[in-house]
């Protein structure tokens, strides 16, 4: 299951989507909204995606994973729009016969997604906001951005 959604990520659905009788281990990673970032207090996050391309890129990541590890199923879901504190912006679940594959594939999936999926995070602080872009943060104070 590969999905870009504006709805809350349901971990039980994520788990169910990779459960098979052949699986001995399932690893699930959730990236959650943290209340701090580079010394600032974060109020919420907002995500934007180039959805069709993100789905395509994530599909390529799945193909790479299947070529490298012997896994059963993998699901990758990314939420867009507002993601409140504690809630998940991304959820990845991998089932495999043995736990090593599940852990490694899950880790690889989130690392690659962060590198190449066309998805952007905006941090909303108490008095400003900033797109998080490697190589330069584009910040605006509340007053400037009218």
């Amino acid at each position: 299951m590969i999905e870009i959604t504006d709805k809350k990520i349901d971990v039980a659905i994520l788990l169910g989507s990779v459960q098979v009788p052949e699986a001995g281990g399932i690893d699930i990673f959730l990236g959650t909204t943290r209340n701090h970032s580079r010394g600032k207090k974060v109020v919420r996050l907002e995500y934007e995606a180039y959805t069709p391309m993100a789905v395509k890129i994530i599909g390529q990541i799945e193909n790479e994973i299947r070529a490298r590890w012997n896994i059963h199923k993998i699901s990758i879901v990314h939420r867009i729009g507002v993601v409140p504190l504690e809630e998940a912006s991304v959820g990845i679940a991998v089932s495999a016969s043995h736990r090593n594959e599940a852990f490694e594939a899950c880790r690889y999936a989130i690392d690659q997604l962060k590198k190449s999926a066309p998805i952007w995070k905006k941090e909303i602080f108490e008095n400003g906001e900033a797109w998080v872009e490697a190589g330069g943060h584009v910040e605006k104070s509340r007053d400037e951005r009218k």
């Binding site: 180039y50 998805i119 872009e133 330069g136």
Partner: protein, 86 residues
């Protein structure tokens, strides 16, 4: 005699979209244009994008391409600022 032209759709995201204040634009370009020319067009129109010039990647029809990738009429071009999903 006019040079032949092509028309491409350009999609903008995140900080690039905020600067341009538009999420999609149609661009007329000379027929021999390459992906990098779309970046140059926007940087010249919006000087605030200059800082992003070295970071922005270009995707054509949903695939990352090199700046030298030749464009064709009807292409979907996306300017991809550094991603930060996850």
């Amino acid at each position: 005699m006019d040079l032949p032209k092509i028309s491409v759709t350009v999609k903008l995201f995140a900080s690039v979209k905020d600067i341009a204040r538009v999420s999609e634009a149609t661009l007329e370009l000379p027929a021999e244009s390459v992906a990098g020319d779309v970046v140059s067009h926007f940087v010249s129109q919006f000087p605030a994008m200059e800082g992003l010039r070295s970071y922005v990647r270009v995707a054509v029809n949903e695939c990352y391409v090199d700046v030298s990738h030749p464009l064709h009429n009807g292409d979907d071009v996306a300017l991809i600022p550094p991603v930060s999903g996850g």
